[in-house]
Chain length 166, copies 8
């Protein structure tokens, strides 16, 4: 099956974080491709990946990077596909550097930024699913079911806590 | 024409910022609806707006709010439409509060966050256009032209600067 | 005995922090109820809990949440009971995100915010007791005794340190 | 009429901010007393004010201060009344110093902290009203009406914006 | 021998940090007294300690505290002795809260603030020695020798590194 | 009269801030000398000033500087006199850079840091007076009077506010 | 004369800041070329400029940009020339975003970062001169003279202040 | 062989970080000298090292220091050689203090600042190589090869990831 989401990470050390995106995409049965490209160490590769993504049938790009996280911005500069940025906490500033580097894009070239780290990687995949669901009614149904499940899980946990009342 | 983008702002004082979203949507000829709903002062209204958006034909929601900016998160809790959050700089923390309140969403409910303030509002609309373009090839073409124009404008400005060389 | 304080936490992972609230309430012999509700994953439940709290005889709500901590704000939007917010340190920003998301409420809907984490959870319960004591003279007496004990404990520790003088 | 809320500010330069508290208290018809006491320049006065407040019939204390804002904490150290802290933005750190100095109280002595500046001062008074309403059913009714009004105002503003739809 | 420096800490959990002050004072042969007093839990004790310090022959007060670190400020409010504040890193904000609470004193009541944590505690004692040396020429000589030693230690360490040259 | 306090500022643009130190020293009748020396642009001069200060009869040095404020640290490296650092807000970081550059001194060489800006400059002079008062009983008396005045001024302002009670 | 320094700015709105670089280069008689290239709006142009710079005889690149300032990093990815980054304060975060985006480069691709804003732009040019001086002994002499002048200017300003002594 | 790069660190505890600079210099076959000098504990030594560096044939200085990191600035004040500053994360502020102390230099005396910690130390050496390569064409070739290798390594890692596609 042709991938619809392209996950790009700045380094293989980002994989433990970005796996959370992969897991969600598998759960929603969305085909994806994961690769590595650095905005700084392999800029040509990053440009190529972004420029060719649309023709390959990619619908959404997810980019995860740390420190001065330029990856999402560089990809967004070369495509009109929505680019979702996951700031990764890999320096002593605990993701403040990667968050600001990802979200504070100048006018003209947006990056859809999510939370720092693993939670953000998970949400990036849900956001990608929400975007793709705009033309995939079946996926939209799965997202609604997922939303209901989130709510029901909370109810169950609340139930489990009930013994605490005093 | 039925609106495809719903712009929600927390207060009418956010209008001078959120107009930047409207301007871009008009430029791309995307019908939109702008309204006000506060996550805290009119929570029922916010819930209703989000819950009914999909049925109304809305494709993307843009939410702009300041301070403890819960608006985008509250809307996202009630819809599977992509929700784009614009943090507004309306407190003494210059948007750090609204940025963190908007972007640091817990796993399960993403908000696609853009830059603080007017630049972010502009980019929110471009991102909305990029999402809608996934099923509107003509809009995709306009986005590509827009991207080329951005580049050509830079070339022109660079040309204008040329006299400075020494 | 009917609960007077309602402790709501965004996730069961917040329990190790919020237990500090429970412990203090037990110490002051104030009946309470602990439950889970997420502003984002189970928003309907959060609204219901807040809307019905007053009728159930609840006097004060304590809400603990991390990241973009909207829980206290969402509860406060649906009740006129005092809502105390405990920012929880559960992201890479060490509670700065949850503190700003909790305290920077827009005009009209206050959240009584306490310190980040376990110290805050403890103080939230003391603050709840101080509020309830406004109509419970016996509880007021216990709070005064607690305050004296705090002071005496310091004296004892100072005494224990005395050997250090040189 | 005997004051039920005591507003204490660290300096008369804080008055333009703290007037927002006074205005709300007048709106809710809650008698109050405003005074000045500095935790550092007139510590004895601050201690006296806090120690005697309960006997004077005060139900809630609101304390507004800037910089290393110790005022709320010092008052809270000398009373079991709920103390609400309003961090004031009066240094080059724009209220980050006063927010952290007010909210990060050690275990045992809570301060109910609200947003920085004028918005916080307004919310401090609403929070005080919510606390007093625990034994004043008529005030509770006024708070509910106020909450409805907040919501209706938003509806009106949304209506006024309607011409913008495109 | 009568103590010349009074070390006050907010809690016995601050002792591992404040021992660095004690060690330096012993090294310089300056008699000191260490005690515990909390600005919030035992405010009367803190006031008493500060008010009586001068009469006891104390020349300098060193105060170490964490979180909303009001201790140094409260002591400084009650004495004209120089008060040195050591911000302690005991919350999730890693000492930013205690630093700002200690250093941002309002005009009229200074606190001589040093670095956060153990390094600061060490420097607080050296600063105390520098102040006392203003009327103790022998201590001044010891301080000069200490300064020379600091420099010689660096030379020795540099010498030890020499093998690294390439 | 020979100066007892040496005020050093990094640039003549710091004069409007450091005048607050001068004003207080004049008020306390303490002779002082104000000069300019940059840790970076005239390092030799800074070293000379610090090295000779003690011989000239200086008791305390006050150093005001902005940005990467190394001035106080450089002076402290060359003298055993107490050095008081005033962080000046002269960059886009509003004094956070100068505060951290001044206060976070490594072990061995303390700088007594006060608040950022004009309030800090004022307090630096009061702190200098407190240090000098250790061997000048008359100055100690003036400091006590000043402290009482601070308190009485607050009382007067509180009195002036009294009409506000409602 | 062929330019030795290439000044690239992200937008013509950065010119008022980057003029400070130009002024210094003229002062040192170093030929330069100023142009505009955006890492996001005209990425191809940025890549071309960086890739060809060495062949054109450029010795150092100075890049000024604001917000998520990727420009310096993108240029550095395409050249082995030293790239100096000037973070520009053009968002509500006052340059914290551009500083972190510029300085926190991942291993392998350094950017020589200077201070935020105009001061940084000036220093960028001095740093460029210092680098070029490594093979231009005459420029080295001019830099030494400049350094002496900096010091003499401070002496003059100190002299002018002398009347203030008291 | 005479050293071309001088690595200075503020303390031997900085060695584990600064070794990353040494490793890169060895890789590029650039002779270097590593030493220790503290801006505060051995200021004379720091001045001497900087003043004599040029005559010794040093081309670039790399300075690593933590906390109020004045070392790079002090060295830069005494030489016209390019000085590269590596902020070290050795306090509770995780390098924010050392970054701002290093990068926010006042106009006239630049420090070429790189990322906080080990990544920065590595990049400092690459930047030094880039500067020296301005007059060493062979080193320039090695830098280009290094850049190609960076890119090829990314390709290899991307290849290794390929199995993940789904």
């Amino acid at each position: 099956m042709k991938p619809k989401v392209l996950i790009v990470m700045g380094s293989d050390s980002d994989l433990p974080v970005m796996e959370a995106s992969e897991e969600i995409l598998r759960k929603f049965n969305i085909p994806y491709d994961s690769t590595i490209a650095s905005a700084h160490r392999s800029p040509g590769r990053a440009v190529k990946i972004a420029s060719e993504a649309e023709k390959r049938g990619i619908e959404v790009i997810i980019a995860g990077a740390g420190m001065a996280a330029h990856l999402a911005g560089v990809l967004a500069a070369h495509t009109i596909l929505p680019v979702i940025g996951v700031p990764i906490d890999s320096s002593s500033f605990r993701g403040l550097d990667s968050l600001l580097s990802t979200v504070q894009m100048p006018p003209g070239v947006p990056v859809a930024t999510v939370a720092v780290g693993k939670n953000g990687a998970k949400n990036a995949a849900i956001l990608a699913a929400q975007i793709i669901a705009r033309k995939d009614p079946d996926l939209a149904r799965r997202l609604k079911r997922y939303k209901r499940n989130l709510s029901e899980e909370v109810e169950k946990k609340a139930e489990a806590l009930r013994g605490r009342t005093r």
